[in-house]
Symmetry: C2
Subunit: 208 residues, 2 copies
Amino acid sequence: MTGAVPAATVARLPGYLRALRELDERGEATTSSERLAALAGVGPAQLRRDLSWLRPRGVRGVGYDVALLRERVSQALGAGADLAVVIVGVGHLGHALASHLGGEGSGFRVAALVDADPGVVGTTVAGLPVEDDREVADVVRREGAVLAVLATPVDVAQQVCDRLVAAGVRGILAFTPVALRVPPEVTVRSADVAAELQILAFHTQRQG
Amino acid sequence: MTGAVPAATVARLPGYLRALRELDERGEATTSSERLAALAGVGPAQLRRDLSWLRPRGVRGVGYDVALLRERVSQALGAGADLAVVIVGVGHLGHALASHLGGEGSGFRVAALVDADPGVVGTTVAGLPVEDDREVADVVRREGAVLAVLATPVDVAQQVCDRLVAAGVRGILAFTPVALRVPPEVTVRSADVAAELQILAFHTQRQG
DNA sequence: AGTTGTGAATCGATTCACAGCC
DNA sequence: GGCTGTGAATCGATTCACAACT
């Protein structure tokens, strides 16, 4: 298939990439859709349909070349490119995320930390200086960041979001419980922990 | 409508609940689907269709009663019930999540913290003692927890998950990048930060 | 007059099932 | 013989558009 990759497919690609990494590290050079799908927790038909958008060049009767496929998926996801990410809001969560993502090969580079609290600005967190909120735009441009993590209090989230967008950020991961308004060329994904727990709570009430 | 609420609808309910809370706090007693939808960032038709699963009892020509609707949604999501949540893995992320959820009215009660590291077990984090990993089952049963947050290293995630499920946990929020295997009555939601960033990275590459 | 609730239509995503290829 | 890639079928979710109601 050719054309735009469906959003539902994109959302599963990271899972495939992880599974491929696992196979690669085990030294398995080739894999079947059945095996890979099992590792990723989906059905084989779905996996093949998803991969078909990436021109996978699998071999009928044999399977996929792990290294090649890994490269394809990795490239689609911008992994390995070490894209710059700016973290806005260095409270408990922002701090933890800085360490978490900064740590090892997450595939991303935490380029800068930004906060509004004068007591935090100037300190060093996870090896990086915390910079001033109001200079967010400069920071984004300086680092060439296209991605941002938003971990501020709710009431300033939209304002910070606007500044990020104006500075050229194209994707925002929001830990803040609010529906951010952004222009259509910017993508927002919600990572609201309480909301996720609420969804789980719903499911536990049903079907039990 | 009656019957099982679609998963896609459930995933939007927390957003509606937040919007309703906002209206309620502003003292607005009644609202239209148009207004509520705008606050939640969805279309009015979708909002009405979603709410129809909850028997909303809106009034034609007038709108919805905010307090009543809030109660309906809140109840569906188990919010206000202060469900017990156990956090497993008290590293950077687990620590931050404990503070984040324990803090204010998240609608959940962080009932216990659990870790494998002997250097962490016994310490107090966010006002709670960190308990031993191996007693996870006892802790879950003691607190009557049906929900768990999984923030352990990858390599022990499946094992911990198995113990949680055996102890009666029905919903797991996993920050670990791995496809957990659980029986069908247990729901898992992934909150893998790196994966979320990868998805955003994909979208920034296209269309722009 | 104005807004909900919902059939009907549309759109998108998943699954089936098999032709095509190694 | 075995596995991929994909048309066709199915399933689910969104949107349209309007009848029902206050």
